[in-house]
Symmetry: C2
Subunit: 282 residues, 2 copies
């Protein structure tokens, strides 16, 4: 009955193992492309050993980026930021970019990539003093709004006084509504997720979309796997930024698979800074 359902159903299954990107070292191999000792990435996550087909793994070139970066700035995280800014968001030189969830893995890349790609002003929102200071002082955001300790709706017009050209939305909810009211005419929204949906906060009404008509806004939902053809240019650019020290790539790492659940919780409740990773061994 639902024509699109099969096409987007995730792999998550109640009672089944959780998946996600993981890196590890090849300890046994029947493939000439995967020598023993090579660092590789696969999508099976949440397990200590995995048996995978050679076509389902990527060899991580540690000369281009450190192992952890292959899961963050050089992985799906960074690639999501890149896709939302360029092919989806059509970022142009000098524009004002807003990103919500800026302290998270994707959000912190969005703000930094936007700056490195020539945005004129980068505004982020994050929860808590420490995260906001990190984004401003280390990641080079022009303005960071602490949505926990200030009134986002009230502060946003000052943080983006000329309006927002491109809004990269990770959060949805009331921050999205405030963003609507500060979009430039014909502004664009790259819609990546809506983590606020998972909370208990009452959600705004769909009627708020009337601003999308009045301001002639374009909203584009996207999923990074539609942009695989851009991965080589993405890796090229990001490894260059990492090498020159222009990109801050930080992770919140928990040790041991027994703590993976707590790490996931930190991702959802905003405790984490940057990419959430679980370390199984050195």
């Amino acid at each position: 009955m639902d024509p699109g359902e099969k096409q987007y159903t995730t792999n998550f299954e109640i009672g089944g193992p959780l998946d996600g990107s993981a890196i590890g070292v090849v300890v046994e191999s029947a493939s000439e492309h995967l020598p023993l000792g090579a660092t590789v990435r696969h999508r099976l996550g949440w397990r200590e050993y995995a048996v995978v087909d050679e076509t389902a793994v990527t060899v991580c070139d540690l000369a281009k980026a450190p192992a952890v970066s292959w899961l963050s700035s050089m992985g799906q995280t960074g690639f999501t930021a890149y896709a939302g800014l360029l092919p989806v968001g059509q970022l142009a030189e000098g524009e004002t970019v807003l990103v919500t969830g800026a302290g998270g893995a994707v959000g912190s890349m969005v703000g930094q990539f936007a700056r490195l790609l020539g945005a004129g002003r980068v505004v982020g929102s994050a929860g808590g003093v420490e995260k906001c200071a990190w984004l401003r002082d280390e990641c080079g955001f022009d303005e960071v709004i602490d949505y926990r300790n200030t009134d986002f709706r009230e502060v946003l017009p000052t943080a983006a006084p000329d309006g927002i050209d491109l809004f990269f939305d990770n959060v949805g909810g009331w921050q999205m509504v405030s963003a609507f009211h500060n979009m430039k005419i014909q502004g664009r929204i790259s819609m990546c997720g809506a983590v606020s949906n998972f909370g208990s906060q009452q959600q705004p009404s769909l009627a708020e979309l009337i601003e999308v008509v009045l301001r002639r806004i374009t909203i584009r939902g996207f999923i990074v796997r539609d942009f695989e053809h851009l991965r080589p240019e993405f890796e090229e650019r990001v490894s260059g930024w990492l090498a020159s020290g222009q990109l801050v790539d930080r992770a919140t790492i928990v040790d041991g698979i027994e703590n993976a659940g707590a790490g996931l919780e930190g991702l959802l409740n905003g405790a984490n800074l940057g990419k959430a990773l679980v370390r199984l061994s050195d």
Copy 2:
């Protein structure tokens, strides 16, 4: 504080006269372009006589379309449908189009234009048996859902079994949410208005937008005045369709300016069929 506000404020003022498109006959003229007796269109509406600058009126060529059509299929109404389907919605041959508020002025043009422009399947929703029969039998819609007498959400998957490529939204609210769940992956939504916002019905949550991410939908809000450059091609096409009898252009006409308020009410509560007009004299 609101960077876009000035750019979209309407001309409506409490206590001031209502405006809107009107046609009339020139009874006095100081312009050589506007001979006495010419039929002209202006935007001052809701008045029996108007004094206007020659640059603020359009001469209506009655050889191309009858006077009333210059306010409906050949006016802003038709032009809104055209803009939402082509430059905004990028309609392609063979696609499935859904339009809500199909019994209204814009909606009935959207469905008919879509068919004439080569859509493969045209689905509309309207309230009431009479409107639905008119759309199906006279306007050539493939499927019409009577949202008052059936469960729109339940019927839509049958009306558009392969999913919707292009959704022209006039209504917002719960019909919009049902449409989200029946969009094809990478489908497009032309968002023209949200008349359901004006009613008393409880609106759905903004969290429903998560479907826009999962299905990689593009939503584009638009206002017809951004597409003035397409008006000549629009008038050319529509006058051709009118001349060949392929287009049904129907209006609900109330007589006398004293009944104009009731006519507006009929537009908002769904009593009207086609374009709502007030006739001041023959």
